[in-house]
């Protein structure tokens, strides 16, 4: 397939891996920020092609995984109401709340629909004026423009029965939280290509300088990742800490300006709680006051009382910060599997634990 096969070409990939080997002289620990990148790595076996000196640490860039338990419980409460059509991306349905998940609410009669775009949820609100249609807006900067557009459209259309449960998070504050952690071992970042396609990479420049860490904005295909890793190792070996752009076919320094403008019309930056990590200041989006009529937390104000407590054995917070690998968790593959997940990292198709489980990496040692 054009624009895909070229980036999966076995010969080019082997050559790129060889180039990485030829320049690596020291031990390096690097983090791929985005869960999509983690999946490509584990699914195609990229880590098996790298020299032993390079350790890949899987980053916090899975929006489903970092959505706090409390927010899931709020979603479950709203979705259980008979006057609600609750819409979500498919990934969220199996994420465990404190007592159940969206699938089990659906089995109990909840009207829950998987949509592929928040704009489809707006259409549902138009078609069902007697129902309250709620969209579960989860994601990083990548999904923010479409979510912002949905709220914007709902307001223009005067759709008072459309609201959004917002759990939007931002990548740069999470990267800073990783760097500030006393356990941090990350020396360089493979930055998230699709987040940068929206936001550009200007905002990463001060971070690279402050922490003296190199970053390479990287795509999601195997060849993208190997090229990104090569560029990052080259910087580390040469003692540089700059922002470089491997993913130039999708990313510019300033990003997608109309998309950023749409975000800024609808959202403002606020503090956010991250599952397993805790509150990170200024790390997410919330709806501006003028869109309060479309804010599910205000429309369904009774959910504000919900408080939740995380599983005591799940170490997803440490996994998300790159401190632990999924299979280093005592519950991994035992109490915790994709069928009985204790934490969201085991559920989402982008979660590091699910990647390790589904692609059987933990078993390969014994195979």
């Amino acid at each position: 397939m054009k624009y895909i096969d070229e980036y999966r070409d076995a010969d080019l990939i082997k050559k790129q891996a060889e180039k990485i080997r030829s320049i690596t002289t020291k031990k390096w620990a690097i983090m791929e920020v985005c869960g999509g990148q983690t999946h490509t790595i584990v699914k195609t076996g990229i880590d098996q092609l790298l020299p032993e000196q390079i350790t890949l640490i899987h980053g916090p860039g899975c929006p489903v995984c970092v959505t706090p338990l409390e927010m899931i419980d709020k979603a479950l409460e709203i979705a259980s109401r008979p006057d609600v059509i609750f819409t979500s991306f498919g990934d969220m349905l199996r994420v465990p709340g404190s007592h159940k998940n969206l699938f089990s609410v659906k089995a109990d009669g909840g009207n829950i629909r998987i949509v592929y775009s928040p704009l489809d949820a707006v259409k549902l609100a138009q078609k069902n004026p007697d129902k309250k249609v709620v969209f579960f807006a989860v994601g990083f900067e990548t999904t923010a423009p479409a979510n912002a557009m949905a709220v914007w459209q709902a307001k223009q259309l005067g759709l008072n029965n459309f609201s959004m449960l917002v759990s939007h998070v931002l990548v740069p504050p999470a990267m800073e939280a990783v760097l500030d952690s006393p356990f941090n071992s990350v020396q360089g970042f493979i930055a998230a290509g699709h987040v940068c396609a929206v936001m550009g990479y200007e905002e990463y420049e001060p971070m690279a300088q402050k922490y003296k860490v190199p970053m390479v904005v990287t795509g999601f295909e195997p060849l993208d990742l190997l090229q990104g890793i090569y560029m990052l190792i080259k910087q580390l070996e040469e003692g540089r800490y700059e922002i470089e752009n491997q993913y130039s076919r999708a990313v510019t320094r300033e990003g997608n300006i109309p998309a950023r403008e749409t975000i800024n019309k609808v959202f403002e930056i606020g503090d956010r709680s991250w599952r397993g990590i805790g509150v990170i200041p200024k790390s997410g989006y919330r709806l501006k006051d003028e869109f309060a009529a479309h804010d599910a937390e205000i429309v369904f104000s009774e959910i504000s009382d919900i408080q939740s407590k995380e599983s005591e054995i799940c170490i997803s917070g440490l996994v998300l910060q790159g401190v632990k690998k999924p299979h280093e968790c005592a519950a991994f593959g035992k109490e915790c599997t994709p069928m009985t997940p204790l934490g969201a990292t085991m559920v989402s198709s982008e979660g590091a634990c699910a990647a390790y489980y589904n692609y059987g990496r933990y078993r390969q040692g014994t195979l």
Binding site: I46, F103, S104, K106, Q364
Partner: protein
């Protein structure tokens, strides 16, 4: 923390053909009905009646929507049961049909479905010899559900069984994978997209006959429907207690299936088929079997995609195109709801 207990109520994943379905069978159905014919959990049971080996199978069809590019629920209801018999090495002969209709279903839609079933029976060479019709109140069904059962005869010299699978055997697929699942997805509400992909629904009994004509040593066959290629290969690995190696570069995936999977975030290995078969054959007879398959329209694109090894018993390993490897596991829950 209390687990979200999927066991207390039936959820969609219990019908996906993956791990939840297996759990239901192991914990509920097998303990209740365990016997020598049921316990192997094949797509069909082979019973011996007066010295004649009869293959017997049943399947229910709830596909939504009922008409899709390349066929209808009527086609899959006949072909699915024919194929479950054929992959057991049987010659399908007779089928039954039970129709559950929803009040308000347009009769002309039922006529189209019956006409598709008639054509499918003729093409497969089976006769529909008994049937039943029930109507449920509006809202209690989804237009139409069909159950079909079928019987066929297994010739004395045919022995299809996972116990015959040997290290070194080759794994063959008869053509490109993922077409049925993607054809269904392409017209599902809220997800409509343009694609030239049509369902691959087809009877496989003629192809199986051609294969058995050149080799009586075909070890094992399965039609990878719900759960796709990966589920069938996992069932093979577990029932044969051998290791399976698949080569990503050898598995035929049509461009349009690849494209749709990229967009929707699906893995073609888990997408449903309705006219595909997997066969495990002895290495030395592979060429002859492939040659016979290539002469049949259902097998013209047949090819080797992997082999059986005496290692990592019970597991399926995929060698990736770029030189890595990974375990291919069974699907935990739903990938595509109600595909067949």
């Amino acid at each position: 923390m209390e687990q979200p207990n999927s066991n207390k109520k039936i959820i969609l994943g219990h019908g996906s053909g993956g791990k939840l379905s297996a759990e239901l069978i192991e914990s509920l159905f097998l303990p209740a009905f365990r016997n020598e014919f049921l316990s192997p959990l094949g797509d069909q049971a082979v019973v011996n009646i007066n010295g004649i080996r009869i293959a017997f199978t049943t399947d229910s069809y709830v596909v939504n929507p009922i008409f899709f590019p390349g066929g209808s629920i009527g086609d899959v209801a006949v072909n699915g049961t024919v194929n479950d018999l054929a992959v057991g090495g049987a010659r399908p002969l007779y089928i039954s049909a039970g129709l559950i209709l929803e009040e308000g279903m347009p009769v002309d839609e039922l006529e189209r479905i019956v006409s598709d079933m008639k054509r499918a029976c003729e093409y497969a060479g089976v006769q529909l010899v008994t049937g039943d019709t029930k109507v449920v109140e509006k809202g209690k069904g989804d237009k139409i559900f069909i159950n079909t059962s079928g019987i066929g005869v297994v010739d004395a010299d045919v022995d299809i069984s996972p116990q015959r699978v040997r290290p070194g055997d080759k794994i063959i697929v008869n053509g490109p994978i993922g077409e049925h699942g993607i054809a269904i997805m392409s017209i599902r509400e809220g997800l409509e997209f343009e694609t030239e992909i049509q369902s691959d629904t087809a009877p496989l009994n003629h192809l199986v006959r051609d294969m058995l004509n050149v080799s009586k040593n075909i070890r094992w066959m399965r039609d990878p429907t719900r759960g796709g290629l990966s589920s069938s290969c996992n069932e093979l690995a577990k029932s044969a207690q051998k290791g399976i190696i698949l080569h990503e570069s050898m598995i035929p995936v049509p461009e349009a299936v690849k494209a749709a999977c990229e967009i929707l975030g699906l893995d073609p290995l888990y997408v449903a088929n309705e006219g595909k078969l997997l066969a495990v054959v002895p290495a030395e007879e592979t060429d002859a079997i492939l040659e016979a398959m290539h002469k049949n329209p259902q097998g013209k694109d047949a090819r080797i995609i992997g082999e059986v090894v005496d290692d990592h018993h019970g597991f399926v390993l995929l060698k990736t195109t770029i030189g890595g490897s990974r375990v291919v596991d069974m699907l935990a829950g739903e990938q595509l709801p109600r595909i067949c």
